[in-house]
Assembly symmetry: C2
């Protein structure tokens, strides 16, 4: 609060874009900026209880649009968020507990470029989620959990 925190950067960036920094908005940013685990919109709304749900959802969307948060698609298709470190990266997602980690797939760009050359689509982006079991969940998964994973 006294010295420059990473939050200040975000706040300034938003203000520069003409967004007002209201109390509720600030609270959301504060909660989200320093967080290393992922979280759902609903969790965040519950934590910030006095702040309206609609506002939490709106602010999350704002932060995603600004690239300060990124959406993660879990194995079951549900959505959660992670604070983004802005560099392009992808996610490693635990199928059991839902934990996430960032992963840098350095060679992927080359692969995507090859798609760009081979298709009539104008390729602008991509999303990659790598699924597995985190160190703590490894060894606990049942066969059944794995059999219906056709994440083509």
């Amino acid at each position: 609060m006294t010295l420059l925190s990473p939050i200040d950067g975000l706040v300034d960036k938003l203000r520069d874009q003409g967004f007002k920094i209201t109390h509720p908005r600030y609270q959301v940013i504060e909660r989200v900026a320093d967080r290393d685990a992922n979280f759902t919109a609903e969790e965040l709304a519950a934590e910030l209880a006095p702040v309206g749900r609609a506002t939490v959802y709106r602010t999350i969307k704002l932060l995603v649009d600004q690239g300060l948060l990124c959406r993660v698609v879990l194995g079951d298709g549900s959505i959660c968020y992670r604070s983004s470190h802005l560099a392009h990266h992808h996610h490693l997602v635990c199928l059991s507990c839902g934990a996430t980690e960032d992963v840098h797939l350095s060679d992927v760009e080359a692969v995507i470029d090859r798609v760009r050359g081979a298709t009539s689509y104008e390729v602008v982006s991509h999303r990659i989620e790598v699924y597995g079991f985190c160190p703590r969940c490894k060894g606990f998964q049942s066969e059944a959990d794995i059999t219906h994973l056709h994440l083509h």
Copy 2:
């Protein structure tokens, strides 16, 4: 109906696994098997009107579990389905009209293998969606559409 259609293979496969081939179930399979475009669960339920919504959803899940359909995550996070050709592949998704195409990213496996070696996770699967604009939508997208694409 008379000669062996691709549907028969699917039906047999399901029957072998102990699933009953009921009329509603057969209708869903029929509608889904020969389709080359993607579709949402709700669309399918509407088309097969007399078949109950719950049954359509249940059957879709069954077919996904069996690897006969695959889920596609569109740019906005919504879900649709495509008939799977069983070989592992990924999707090219139009951000404008939502059209999809299969794409085979042959080198991706090597990249994922590198993740496998570098992480403490037990990697079992991955999902890749490549986003862009299809030939028909190319040139129509506004800048605004592209600016909030942070699909890390």
